[in-house]
Symmetry: C2
Subunit: 310 residues, 2 copies
């Protein structure tokens, strides 16, 4: 461990839930991603420098990356100092794992500087402290894909059990309408109890989606991208949601839904041409609604947080 | 179509639910199976002959195989007659798909005599009428594996969407304690609503089980064979259930649980030796409880209803 050593990482955006897989599925995308520089310092402790205009806190215990690093430091026997510089490109509150990118990027970068003493599962555990700070819940459906890459299944949180799923090539179109949906609010409007018959329909779709991904069956993926439990409740917080969904499917998308707790909406397509047509349809919907928005056409990112400079 | 033509089929027992996959998963086993002979007759209508001592009804509308055949006849434009002789080896009420074997065996045999005019999905639709008669619910988690073979996913009942899942070699140990659990009773004690957090745990396990099966990951299969919703309620109807489960896992079983709505219990093992040790443990439990019981050591049957003589 050599103080002064520096590393740069790209921490990708992630899409949690994947429609039917509430709290258990998520995937990383190639774009957007945060740029982060991490330096080992002689002085123990954590320093955070934000290189953007989001006014995010710099006190480690109030910053999601800081919270993740603090959890990591607790398990180190020797005192270590980190200086973390973050250039956020993933807008906070967009629903594509902005907080997860900060937490996951920070612990992956720190672990690389510590010569990989921690496993990926350890890193997920640390980074979940950032999610706890951001939303009040230690969920892993953004953190896990951000660290593992590709599509990940979180079979269980206690004990933590993460499984990487192979998936066929999939293009992802994302639209972020510029409204605010707080993760905590999106969580609080969910009912604590659900009908067993609805839960059965939901886990039939989850089973179908997993099978479709592992067997590269695009039609089955499309049929399974249905959420009878969460989407009907949460989508009312997102203007234009139903129109975006209808128009995207008409344009050839396999299906899609709310990214995480929203407000971003994602759609999966088999090819890039369709994904671009879907983007145009999404833009048209929000132009008609007079709502500012950003769109991305990207693919599933198989590697998660990338170390780009050492 | 030639009247007088005769066919013989073996209709296998099936294990529905597969622990966490309530109402959506099921698999066929090599043993036990029913033997059935079907003959095309000049006289339209359905005749049923029972070659066993179970006192099952012979009136087509009261017999599960009859109900399935009646549904099939409704979709035929020319009048047809069937004479069906059933030798039941799967004890009714055992929880390993006895009614499904009758219904599925009957329609597969009839369809073969009709030169395969109907698809497998059609046959499932017809046979579900037998399940409706037997339990009041048109469920397909025994019917589908009985007709398709192997492990099947019923992603959806409306519309019907059945997906065959590839699975690694698995040995199955089944114990049938000779008590009666009526499917209708086992269904009525279930709560109509469940906690979302429990449903999430359940679909995490379902996703893990599917992934384990498709990726031949035995450890993941084992970790995922957990049911937090149905088993805690239904297992109270089955004396010795918890002991059987603990002893089977100690003996090396990957896991298992209630077969369908019980009272049979099944356990999955990676090899035959373990499956036989599990059988011995199961026997010991019911000998100590002084409860009559039957056991089977078998494997997953990949082909479903077999035509054995034409």
């Amino acid at each position: 461990m050599e103080t002064g050593r520096k590393i740069k990482v790209h921490a990708p955006a992630t899409v949690a839930n994947m429609v039917c897989g509430f709290d258990i599925l998520g995937f990383a995308v190639k774009e957007p991603y945060d740029e982060m520089w991490m330096r080992l310092t002689e002085q123990p402790g954590i320093t955070i420098i934000n290189k953007d205009n989001y006014q995010l806190p710099v006190e480690p215990e109030k910053n999601v990356a800081g919270a993740a690093l603090l959890a990591m430091l607790e398990e180190l026997t020797t005192p270590v100092g980190f200086e973390l510089t973050i250039h956020k490109h993933i807008k906070p509150g967009s629903g594509v794992g902005s907080s997860a990118a900060s937490s996951a990027g920070a612990v992956v970068a720190a672990n690389a500087l510590l010569n990989g003493v921690f496993s990926k599962e350890d890193l997920v555990r640390f980074a979940m402290n950032g999610e706890k700070l951001a939303s009040g819940v230690k969920h892993a459906d953004n953190i896990a894909p951000c660290i593992y890459g590709g599509v990940t299944l979180i079979r269980s949180i206690h004990p933590l059990d993460i499984v990487s799923l192979t998936a066929p090539p999939l293009y992802v179109t994302i639209v972020h309408p510029q409204i605010e949906v707080r993760t905590a609010d999106a969580r609080s409007i969910l009912k604590k109890q659900v009908y067993l018959k609805d839960a059965i329909r939901q886990w039939g779709n989850i089973a179908g989606l997993i099978t479709g991904l592992l067997q590269s069956d695009y039609e089955l993926i499309g049929r399974s991208l249905e959420d009878v439990l969460i989407e009907p409740v949460r989508s009312i917080l997102i203007p234009g949601f139903n129109t975006v969904k209808v128009k995207s499917k008409e344009a050839g998308a396999l299906g899609g839904g709310i990214s995480g707790s929203g407000p971003s909406i994602f759609m999966l397509s088999k090819d890039e041409k369709t994904a671009i047509t879907v983007e145009q349809e999404m833009k048209r919907v929000y132009e008609q609604l007079g709502l500012e928005h950003h769109t991305y056409v990207t693919t599933i990112h198989s590697t998660g947080v990338d170390i780009v400079e050492e």
